[in-house]
């Protein structure tokens, strides 16, 4: 496990994720009203990048088939997805947002 840099805190817009690739994992990092959250960027239903989806009120909607996930918990909120997303701890280190994977 290691901490990975995403971007300086000031470069994040609300509800607009930044994506980092670590090996085979794609991680999407969001700024929400209460802080930064990192989730797996790949929908658990069929292959689609959640960072291409619609984000609102702490939820991300898959752009392909509209499955919805809670960004803070990774929980799959409705079908067609049934499996929760992986989530990763975040922190701010010297003004840079990081996640742990």
């Amino acid at each position: 496990m290691a901490w990975h840099d995403v971007a300086p805190e000031g470069e994040f817009e609300m509800d607009v994720p930044k994506v980092v690739q670590v090996g085979e994992d794609r991680v999407a990092v969001f700024r929400l009203a209460d802080g930064f959250y990192a989730i797996s960027d790949v929908c658990t239903h069929e292959y689609a990048l959640l960072s291409d989806g619609f984000c609102e009120e702490g939820k991300i909607e898959c752009p392909l088939h509209q499955a919805c996930f809670d960004i803070r918990s990774g929980k799959a909120l409705d079908e067609p997805a049934e499996v929760d997303l992986a989530i990763y701890p975040t922190r701010i280190d010297g003004g840079v947002v990081q996640f742990q994977l």
């Binding site: 239903h45 069929e46 689609a48 989806g53 619609f54 909607e61 752009p63 392909l64 509209q66 067609p80």
Partner: protein, 400 residues
């Protein structure tokens, strides 16, 4: 209290699970004619053909999951008659099953061709997972596949087959691809993807006869003859409403229901694609052949079974995935609308607007993130200036 559900597809499964969520006590019986536990059909014309035995999107729960929910799932069980007077079902095995309330979720079947030669074993349709596996087993490099019908299923199969190395021709009676659900400009884009991949598309080309030969089937069309190894007929679906019709329940291209899913008989409901549902907005009954109706209309049915009202009134939505491109269709396509195109780096939106500049329908290509804002725009029925619709720098969420 026992609720029997005829049909263990997606709509039957959803009705059973939602009903269990609302009522812990009642006995729930889910009767399926197929021997497979319920599954979602969208992957059948895509991932299953490309070789995935159980793609993630198939969403097929194990039988134990039904046991755990105390849903009595009985597979391979064909209901042959509904006796409304006695409130019971008869099965092909000769059993009588009493019910207090009944849900008919029998779905639809693939429409066949009524032309000479259509019973040849090289003529297939695609509806069930067994159909998909049978088709996949025959698709191989160099196979000459002809698809009758340039609708959504026909085109998805064509896309999968060409990726598998088949030589693919699509014959369509009408003038363009997916004419029932998208405007001309979208048809043109979809046709271009297919042609670029090597699919031959023939429009205005009805199939009039099939001449089986030992080594091939010869297809007689409006434009001459085509030889094929296999013909996939994808010319639409027919609702499985015979049980209801025979029982005296009102049907007309589907089982007629109110917005809660109730049929002409107060204790009988219809769920999913077999239902032709009263739509207040449209002022008529509409039958939908979509994942959406199988997924969400059972919410109305399960609630009505428990004495609650949650009428089905979702904006129609369906999608197709071909060549890694995603097309989503919101609302009902109408040639009466003017179609405006917004392009933003390969992400496309087509807005169907009326003369008062209200958006009624839309098509998104590789642009699913705009579906939710668009739903809100359509629901609001507010005029929006066309220069704002066309300007990609104006986020749709600002227009809701």
């Amino acid at each position: 209290m026992r609720t029997a559900i005829i049909g263990a597809g997606q709509a039957g499964r959803r009705t059973a699970e939602l009903l269990r969520g609302l009522d812990a006590e009642r006995e729930i019986l889910l009767l399926g004619e197929e021997t497979e536990p319920p599954y979602d059909r969208p992957p059948l014309s895509k991932e299953v053909l490309l070789g995935e035995e159980r793609p993630r999107g198939l969403m097929q729960r194990a039988a134990e999951v039904y046991e755990a929910q105390r849903i009595a799932l009985r597979l391979g069980e064909k209901v042959t008659r509904i006796d409304l007077g006695a409130a019971r079902l008869e099965t092909a095995a000769g059993e009588c099953i009493a019910y207090d309330s009944l849900v008919i979720a029998t779905g639809a079947r693939a429409r066949g061709l009524r032309i000479p030669g259509a019973d040849d074993p090289r003529v297939l349709t695609l509806r069930s997972i067994a159909d998909a596996r049978a088709l996949r087993a025959r698709l191989r490099t160099g196979l000459r596949l002809v698809v009758a019908g340039a609708g959504l299923i026909g085109l998805e199969v064509a896309a999968a087959a060409i990726q598998l190395g088949c030589a693919v021709t699509v014959l369509e009676m009408g003038e363009r691809a997916m004419a029932r659900c998208v405007p001309e400009a979208v048809s043109a884009r979809i046709e271009a993807w297919h042609r670029a991949a090597g699919v031959v598309l023939e429009f205005g080309c009805p199939l009039t006869a099939i001449r089986p030969q030992p080594d091939a089937i010869h297809l007689v069309t409006g434009k001459g003859e085509v030889s094929a190894d296999l013909l996939l007929v994808a010319v639409g679906a027919i609702p499985n409403m015979e049980l209801a019709l025979d029982a005296g329940i009102a049907v007309d291209d589907g089982i007629l229901t109110d917005a809660d899913g109730r049929t002409s008989h107060p204790h009988v409901f219809a769920a999913g694609e077999v239902a032709r549902i009263w739509q207040r907005g449209a002022g008529r009954h509409v039958r939908f052949e979509t994942w959406q109706v199988a997924q969400h209309q059972p919410v109305a049915v399960a609630n009505a079974l428990c004495g609650e009202q949650k009428p089905y009134a979702e904006l129609p939505w369906h999608w197709t995935d071909q060549y890694g491109r995603n097309v989503q269709i919101l609302g009902t396509h109408s040639a009466a609308l003017e179609w405006l195109e917004r392009e933003d780096g390969g992400r496309l939106i087509y807005f169907g607007v009326d003369p008062e500049e209200r958006v009624h329908s839309a098509v998104l290509i590789d642009n699913g993130r705009e579906a939710t804002p668009l739903r809100r725009i359509i629901a609001a029925e507010k005029p929006i200036q066309r220069n704002r619709l066309l300007d990609p720098s104006v986020a749709l969420r600002q227009l809701c």
